[in-house]
Structures are given as structure tokens and as C-alpha cells.
Subunit: 623 residues, 2 copies
């Protein structure tokens, strides 16, 4: 065990906080002595008055909230929480039939890394993909409606932490697993770890017209932990790079046991080659899914040693290099794709691990960057002028350095313990170099106290000058991991759902509202409009309906107010039911009327001056 | 039907948006011509740099999200979403056994009006009470932990919209119902509305030591809709005032049918008198609850005519008056408690409605305030200098006027359609007169677009001068109704849970972690600490455990990291399970291990540099 690890373990079991608090003192003093002019300048830069709009959207993962957080930059105002993996009472997500079915019986997820769909290596703003590390799912969010449009459950996986990253034309959404598990949901004791447990990468395709995710194939790998990944672009297009940890095959106390070796690996996989092999029928079928072992395919997989227990790996905008950071080694390493290709051509291998040829570190490494005292490097972002930005979890700072020389240009404190950072248009082939945002894990004394668990936070920096300027800190719900920042004009939100008269179960005229009974099924084809519900146009009370106890009730409701922002909600009292219907949308919610009595129905989403009057009754006649 | 109503109905069925857009034009131009100096001043006023804290907490209802939103003022940064009525994946609320049981089978609520506990008419900052209009519940939030501590389900109720408001020493939490329903969950057709349907007010007491809500008694009333309420204070202490609508007894198309009469009522109830009667055994028992009819008690209830379809009613800080606003009449009415008491003494009644003596409007009314063109007055707030502030839903503005004279002092645009407003320390006997925040229903073009449904928004005003200064607009998730703004130093958050070694199921030393099996029940008494779980101190792999398929598993986990902000989370892969354990907390989560296989367990809440290594396995042996 090296000295740094010993130090870290000490920190991690209690001293960390003290050290951080100690570091604060200097930082608070620094801040206290910040010239007033700089704070005044920051205040002006983040202020977006009414009548003006933010320059960028920030799409932040919501971590174990399971949701997508949408912010405006530079005001850092949270504009929307889009429900993705978790139930959401506000929008009825997980309550209405379609979203409930899409969620597949799950009510939460652990969303780490968003990826906006790309065309020619540029964010095209159409869709955003999300991973659920906990329940092995991938979701697609439609960025015209800001709705989740599909969720795919993946078999054989152990938590797609290293997901999702898209290839430059969204050919694939790449999802490598974090924990090795026996394939096919089988049981195998941990003593059989090396033989029976596998690492898996899922390659997913997305059909933009149908808005559907499809599992293309899986790649089976040694039982290492795949932590983060990125896709090559331009000269490295066709390759995916992934960091690994626990190449020690530890099965307990990973804090110690997965930190034994001085080096773990970057795994390089050639997905274009594997795609051809799968197309040629070279894959097996495991648990209903095509699976290929890249070790059976010449030139499809290589490993590169990297400083121990790496976390992030990020490909440079021009696709020539990738930077990996070892969280237990205080340095960033720049690797060259060209050097890797040359070493592969020369078969310059130093070992073979589990059937994977291992390249020589020195042959692929271009540069090590090791700023003095900068501890816990996690992730790298880029600007448009050849600079890289690294978050330092332990020393709570961002380090700016020159990619071509390793020269450190600036270091700025972060409040506190940053994980990922996000640069404007940062994953594209042409980053903007305007703003950088860090996603911080420990807020401590930054905001008014809210009990023993503090919020997470984001720090916004202006990175347009040589020195970074800290603009503001904002709290954020648990828990931001990666995020993406995209130019506002790339997103084209729809203001109203299309009036599609052929849509199943839709009703577009109040007079067409009707109730159809099929045995114990009651189908209500109704409308919501300012300021009333109409469930049955022919009834004496059009806004109420009566069923028998035990009936299965289907509410098919269309919002016929085709005006932006006129969303209606519909609740059924004491039945634990609520869903929303956006302008022009049709939603269905079904339930069993198992309680007899009278249950007021009302609009839950303030819609007009007479919103409070928008109500009716469900009457359930006792058996 | 009067002209205004006709106009409103026209607006509400389509023209409203056009009118609002039309109004915008002027407003946007106004904003465009705002002197730069004013915007620069606003930017400085809302900017709270790192190292400084906000001056106030804003506790906003989350509407149909069911949750409590906590903001800092003046930065308007959202610091926390506290789960109250709805499941919350981020914190595991509704997943762990204790919160799941407290929620009583419901997974969402519709939270409209928070009320901070009061002592001598002042916010004491200890607890906050919340209403669920949809499922007839009241919750208490502990403001030292920012956790929901109790939820009470109320029988006989039809949606406690006019809740919650506390009496000056939190003797009672008052919850009047919005929809009349048959008592005791009975079925009765709508034709029997006047005989069988009842309005009910629930009077709840709160035990601060036990942190428990108790239903004291209920008050049965005519089947009107009780919309909002407030408690008297000082000279009016002992009284509650409530607005009513639908005194027409309409049972369908309330938009038209509940807007027929020119006047609805303010109902005044003397809770001190009713309390005595209940203590004297004068109540009946209905559905297990003590219920009293105030019409049987001399001097306990009166009605006062008020401009049609009123919404808000707010008692002045000195307790001498209350202001009610008719949403279908463009005016605010100031009523005098003293005048009401005098009229009662003189038995100056003009009618008797459903057994309730009706006072003469002119005898109780002190002043009508009718600013030209100000439409849709909803709610009134107060400052420390005798001024009142009214939100105007339709004309999208705040009107400031002098309570003693009715003189209009200032009008400022709001973006757009404000519902409630909240003044700093606004419900206390001594408001601060510093900030006012409106909760707006229609954001339209205020922020970057997020699809057909826009966020709601808050507008912050500096009200310390004669003219109000608009400082900023911020988006907010659906849906803020009322909120309260309290001085930051009144809230005393705990930083760590008490280390209570007598707490059931807690384990405080890693060596004491153990597993106890009782037939098919497996109890894991474990600890979470940086950076590992220990489930069984005696096992070879302390961070994993094995059960048989079908076993019922209880995870009792104590977080023994007694450092602020070091929260751990625990998920069980593919089992749809996640919960959090805050520093020093013990939480229990139980589930049936119905799927066999290997299920990674990991910490979901980033806790240290080796957080990623904090993991283990659940192994489920197949049957």
C-alpha cells in the first residue's frame, strides 16, 4: 500500500472533514479579501432579468433521485425536473398507464451520466440518454417535449455506471457495467468470482423516428469494474475507452483490497470491428441477447496500464488523445491514440491479462501532469483554446492546464469536493470555452442549514479569460454527477402537442365526451378544458360519473386547450391518483374503484381564474 | 350573471392567454426601458456570494408534487426539497419502513398551505404543518431535522384546502374542507347534496415533545366550499375566519353554477367556545371522531356576506381586521372584527342561512378597495408600516395600498398570474416589511422553454421603500401555492443525529454488526461508514450476506460517521430499493428476497474519495 493510499484511508475514515474544514479557513479568508469589484462583476454576469433568457441549458443527472435536472446558465436557475426513472407526483409520471408501463415495475433509478444525441460529433439537441446504475436501465428523453420516451431494461448487467456515452453520430449508446455478476441472473457464490462473474458492455441503438431504444449486442469482459468511458471521434472514431478499477478481483472490503495494485487499466474497444463481427453472425445468445467476446476478435480489444484506481477518462475535442485521472494517484495522464495505434501495429505488448493484450504504458502515454498539492483528480473538461480543466475531489479545486505542454495556468477553489465538471458544449468536437460548472459533493457551510444532510451544489466559473472567475454557488438536490451544457438555440421545445385526431382514445370536442362500459370495465373518454372536465356530454352532470364498486375505471382524458402552458391535472380524492394532461395531450389512467362513496375530482394544476371551480365527482355505488 | 363574470368566462375559455400576451407587450417594453442602474441594483441585491448566507428561509408548498420546497431569500436558490406526502427516491422517503408506514399507503399528496408553528403570534421556527388536499391528510415537519415527523389521516373530510392555519400559540391546526361529502365515507347521490353532504372543519393538536398530531374534534357545517381561512390574533384571538364559495349548492358545472349569487360568505367560528363545549362532553361521535355542530352553540358561528366567490382571507398583523378578496369581483374588502363583535352584540342579523346568523355586510365592512383595472384579487399580505399587498391573478400585478385609507400607493407587474404572495414574517403579529414574493401560475416566455408545460415561478420584490422594486423571477417546480418566509436565525437545524445508544435496532460499533435469523426473517444490524458497509462483523466478507429465496430481509443500518453532511445511501440492485442514512441516523428497510442471484449493494450518496468502493453483495440462494 503506498503512502497516498494510507493517507486517503485515514482521511476517509474521519480526518477528511477536518482537513477540508482546515482548507476552508484559507479559502474563506481569500473570499473575504476578494475585491468588491470582482463580486459586483460576478453578480452582473449571472443576473438574467425578465425579458432576457439564459445562454445555455444545463442538463444535470439527478443521481439517486432518478430524475433529470434542467438549469439555465448563467443564471443557474432550475427550470425543470424531468422525471425519468422515478415516480413523480407533480406530473403524474408513474401514475398514468403509459409511464407506469414504461417504468417496468420500478419506482426509482440512479441516474449518473446524461448524453445528448450527437450528429457529426456535435450535440444535435434532439434527445438525451440516461443511465440507471441501480436497476440496469437506459432511458431516452425527448428534448422537444421534455418527456421520457422510452426505457430499456438490460439483462446480464451489474450497474451501467460507465454509461451513457454516445458515438459521434449516435450510432450507439454505450453502457459498460460497474459490478461483475454471473450472466443470466444466475446464482454463484463470491468464491467463484474469477470464473463465473463477468463484466459486460451493452451497445444500444436508438430509432429517432419511433423514439425507441434497442439493445444491439453485448460485449463480455473480465470481471473488472468499468467505471467511466468515452467515445473516440475523428481520427479515433470507432473506439471506446473505459477506465477500470478492482483489477485485483477483490470481493470484499474494496476500500483496501481493490487498491493494492499500482496500476489498473484503460480498456480500448473497437466497436466498428465488433459491429461487423456481430453482423456476420459471430455472436452467441446469452439470456436472449447477442453477446460477443472481443478477445475472440483480432484487434478488437487492448488494455493500457493507468495510475491506480482511475475514475474519469475523457477524449479531447479533436479526438487525438484521452486524459485519465487516478483518484489514488495525484496526477492526470494524457494518452495518445496515435501512439496506441502505433504500439498495436508493432505488437508492443507487455502482458496479456485474461486474454487481453496489454500495451506498454510508456509507449502510449504522452504526458503526466502532477500539480503540487492537487489531490484526487477525477474528471477532465476542455475549452476551445487547447486547455484542460480537472476537478480535484480532495483538494477541492479546479486546475486549468495546457493540454500540449502540461503547464498549469490557474487553480481556483471549489465549495467543496467536486466530482464531475461540465464545460459549455464540452463533449462536442468544438467546445465553447465560456462556462465551466462543477458538481460538488459536500456543501457544508455554503448555504442555510437544512438538517444533518446538506444539499449538493454546483459552482459556476467564467472560463473565457486566462484566469477562471468563480461566479456563484447554487445548491442542487441529490445528486448531480455528470451534466451537459448545450447552446440554448439547439433545443427546439414544442409549445403544444400536435392535434392528432387519429390518436387512440383522444376526444377533441366536448360534445364527443362519452362513457363506454364493457362488463366491469368503464372507459371514460373525456376532455379537460378551462374551467371544467367533461366526462359524459349526454349526462345531466357532465363532470361526474358513477361506477359500481369493483369496476376497473379507465380515464382517457384529452386537454383540448391548445394554448401553451395551459396544463390540467386530474386527481381522484382518497384514491391516491393524480396525472397531468399538457396542452393537446391525451393521457390514460386506470384504477379499480374498490372503495364505495363519493370522491371529488379536481384540477390540480392552476389553469385559469376559475381553476378552483374545475371539479366533479366520482360516485362509487356500494356492492 | 354579471358582466365581469361573463368577461371572465370568456377569458377562461380561450381569451385569457391572448389578453395576457397583449399585456406583456407593454410590460416587456417597460422592462426593456428599465434604467440599467435599476437592473444593476437588483443584481447586487439578490447576489449572495460564497461565505455569506441568505437572510430568510422561504418554505413553499409544493402543490401536487406533495413536497416542501425550501429556498434562501434574497438569492432565491432552492436549498432543499423535503419530502412530505410523496415518495422521494433521493432520500428513500416512502421506501424505508418508518416513512412508508407514516404515508399510510399513499404515494402522493397535494400540499397547498404551509404553517410554521407559532408562539405568541410569532413564528417559533420549530415545526411546519402541511395539508394534503387530495387525500385528506395533515403532516408535521420537524424544522431541526427537515424531516416529516408525522402524518394524520382525517375522516369525514372533502379536501382540506382551507388548511393549514395555526392559532397564535399553535393550540390548534385548523383544517376546513373544500368539497362537501357525505359523512363517514357513505355513498349518497348528488341529488341528496343539501341533506346528505356536509362541510367539515378539523381541529388538530400537536404534541411537540412526542412530535405527534392528534385529531381533537371536528366542526360540521353546511355543504358550502370552504376555500381559505386565517386565525384571529390579539383582540380577535379565539376566532377563525373562512371564505366560502358555492353557497349556491351547485353539483355540476361550478364555473357557471357556483357563480350565480352576488355574495358568498365569510364564516366566523369561535373555537374557544367550541373547545369548552367539546370538553364539556357536548360532541357526538361520527366515524370515530368527536364532532360538534356550532349552530347548537350560542355565539359560536356567524356568516358575513362578501363579494362573490372570494378566495383569500387574511387577518391583519394587529388582529383588528381581515381582508377578503372576491375573485369574481375586482375589489378587496376590509372587515373589522370590532364591528363584527358590535353587530353580534346588537344581534344585527339580516338572515339565517342553514341555521347560521348572517351579519349585515355594511355593519362589518370597513372599506372597499377597488384599484381601476386591477382584476382577480386573490390574497393579501402586510408589512410593518400599515400597508397591504394584493396579488391580482388576471391583471398580473401586485397592488400596494394603505390599510387605514385604501389609498393605492404602487402597482408593479408580475410574470404572470400570481396566486398567493408571501411577505417576510408575513403571518406574524410583526411582519418585517423587507421582501415580498409572489407565487405565479403562468411562466409563458419567462425562461428557456421546456416543452408544452412551463415551470411555475416566483417573483421577488424589495418592499422596503415606498415603491416596490422587482428583483428577480425564478422558476419553481409545480406547484407553489402559499409559502412562508421566516428570519434565518429562527431556524435551528441539527447537524448530526444524537448518538442514542438505546435507540432500537441501532449499532454503534463496526464490531457489533450482526445478522439474526428467525425462521424466514433475516435481520441485518449493520453500519455504514466511510467507505464501507459492515453487515456481519464475524463473516469472512463483512460487506456481503446470503439469504434464501423467499426470505423476508430487514436492513437495520446505522450511519456511524458523526460528521455533518456525511450521508450514506444504500441500494440493492434490481430490487428497486434505496434509502439514506444521515449522520447518526438508524433506518430500517425491509423487503422479500423473491429473486435469486447476486445483487450488488452500493452507497448511493457520494461520501468520500473511496465512495465508489463502498459496496457489497446480497446473495440470494435459489429455492
Amino acid at each position: 500500500m503506498n503512502k497516498l493510499l494510507t493517507a486517503l484511508l485515514g482521511l476517509s475514515s474521519g480526518l477528511l472533514v477536518s482537513v477540508l474544514f482546515f482548507s476552508d479557513v484559507g479559502r474563506q479568508n481569500a473570499r473575504a479579501s476578494t475585491p468588491d469589484g470582482e463580486l459586483a462583476s460576478a453578480a452582473q454576469k449571472v443576473y438574467v432579468p425578465h425579458g432576457k433568457k439564459d445562454e445555455y441549458y444545463l442538463f444535470s443527472s439527478g443521481g439517486h433521485s432518478g430524475q433529470l435536472f434542467v438549469y439555465g446558465v448563467p443564471s443557474m436557475r432550475q427550470i425543470r425536473i424531468v422525471p425519468v426513472f422515478s415516480q413523480d407526483a407533480a406530473t403524474g409520471y408513474g401514475f398514468d398507464d403509459a409511464s407506469k408501463k414504461m417504468m417496468g415495475g420500478y419506482t426509482w433509478g440512479d441516474f449518473h451520466h446524461p448524453a445528448i444525441s450527437e450528429t457529426a460529433g456535435d450535440y444535435d439537441g434532439q434527445f438525451l440518454f440516461a443511465n440507471d446504475v441501480a436497476n440496469n436501465r437506459i432511458a431516452a428523453v425527448d428534448l422537444s417535449l421534455f418527456h421520457t420516451t422510452d426505457i430499456l431494461k438490460m439483462p446480464n448487467m451489474g450497474g451501467p455506471h460507465a454509461a451513457v456515452f454516445v458515438t459521434p453520430n449516435t450510432e450507439y449508446i454505450v453502457a459498460p457495467t460497474r459490478f461483475a455478476r454471473p450472466l443470466g441472473d444466475e446464482y454463484a457464490p463470491l468464491d467463484k468470482y474469477k470464473e463465473k462473474y463477468k463484466g459486460v458492455v451493452t451497445m444500444i441503438q436508438f430509432d429517432r423516428a419511433k423514439k425507441k431504444l434497442n439493445l444491439a449486442y453485448q460485449i463480455v469482459l473480465p470481471p473488472w469494474s468499468y467505471d467511466l468511458s468515452d467515445a473516440g471521434k475523428k481520427m479515433s472514431d470507432g473506439w471506446v475507452v473505459m477506465t477500470t478499477y478492482n483489477t485485483e478481483f477483490a470481493t470484499t472490503n474494496l476500500e483496501i483490497n481493490a487498491s493494492q495494485k499500482d496500476r489498473d487499466y484503460i480498456v480500448m474497444v473497437n466497436w466498428k470491428k465488433l459491429e461487423q463481427e456481430v453482423a456476420a453472425g459471430k455472436a452467441n445468445t446469452v439470456n436472449g441477447v447477442k453477446m460477443i467476446d472481443p478477445r475472440d476478435v483480432e484487434g478488437a480489444i487492448y488494455a493500457i496500464p493507468v495510475a491506480k484506481s482511475p475514475h474519469g477518462v475523457d477524449v479531447t475535442p479533436d479526438g487525438t488523445r484521452f486524459v485519465a485521472s487516478g483518484k489514488l494517484a495525484p496526477l492526470m495522464t494524457v494518452f495518445s491514440f496515435q501512439k496506441a495505434f502505433d504500439a498495436i501495429a508493432k505488437k508492443d505488448f507487455v502482458a496479456n491479462e485474461f486474454g487481453i493484450p496489454v500495451l506498454k504504458y510508456e509507449s502510449v502515454m504522452e504526458r503526466e501532469v502532477d500539480p503540487p498539492g492537487a489531490l484526487g483528480p477525477l474528471h477532465t473538461q476542455f475549452d476551445d483554446r487547447g486547455n484542460a480543466f480537472n476537478t480535484m475531489f480532495i483538494s477541492s479545486e479546479v486546475v486549468k492546464w495546457k493540454l500540449d505542454t502540461g503547464e498549469v495556468i490557474d487553480r481556483q477553489p471549489v465549495f467543496y469536493s467536486p466530482g464531475h465538471a461540465t464545460a459549455a458544449e464540452g463533449d462536442t468536437a468544438a467546445p465553447d470555452g465560456t462556462y465551466l460548472i462543477t458538481g460538488n459533493k459536500i456543501a457544508k457551510d455554503s448555504f442555510l442549514g437544512v438538517g444533518p444532510s446538506h444539499p449538493e451544489s454546483l459552482d459556476l466559473f467564467d472560463i473565457s479569460g486566462d484566469k477562471m472567475q468563480h461566479l456563484m454557488s447554487v445548491p442542487i438536490p441529490p445528486e448531480p454527477h455528470y451534466s451537459q451544457m448545450v447552446k440554448a438555440d439547439k433545443i427546439k421545445p414544442k409549445l403544444i402537442y400536435d392535434k392528432d385526431e387519429t390518436r387512440p382514445d383522444s376526444v377533441w370536442k366536448a360534445d364527443d365526451a362519452r362513457i363506454e362500459r364493457k362488463g366491469s370495465e368503464v372507459h371514460v373518454y373525456g376532455v379537460a378544458m378551462r374551467s371544467k372536465f367533461i366526462f359524459d356530454a349526454k349526462a345531466e352532470r357532465k363532470d361526474s360519473f358513477t361506477v359500481n364498486q369493483g369496476d376497473r375505471v379507465f380515464l382517457h382524458i384529452t386537454n383540448i386547450d391548445l394554448d401553451q402552458d395551459i396544463t390540467h391535472g386530474l386527481e381522484v380524492m382518497d384514491y391516491n391518483l393524480n396525472f397531468e394532461i399538457q396542452p393537446g395531450q391525451t393521457s390514460t389512467l386506470s384504477f379499480t374503484a374498490d372503495k364505495s362513496g363519493v370522491f371529488p375530482i379536481y384540477c390540480t394544476n392552476f389553469c385559469s381564474a376559475l381553476h378552483q371551480e374545475m371539479s366533479g365527482h366520482l360516485l362509487v355505488q356500494p356492492k
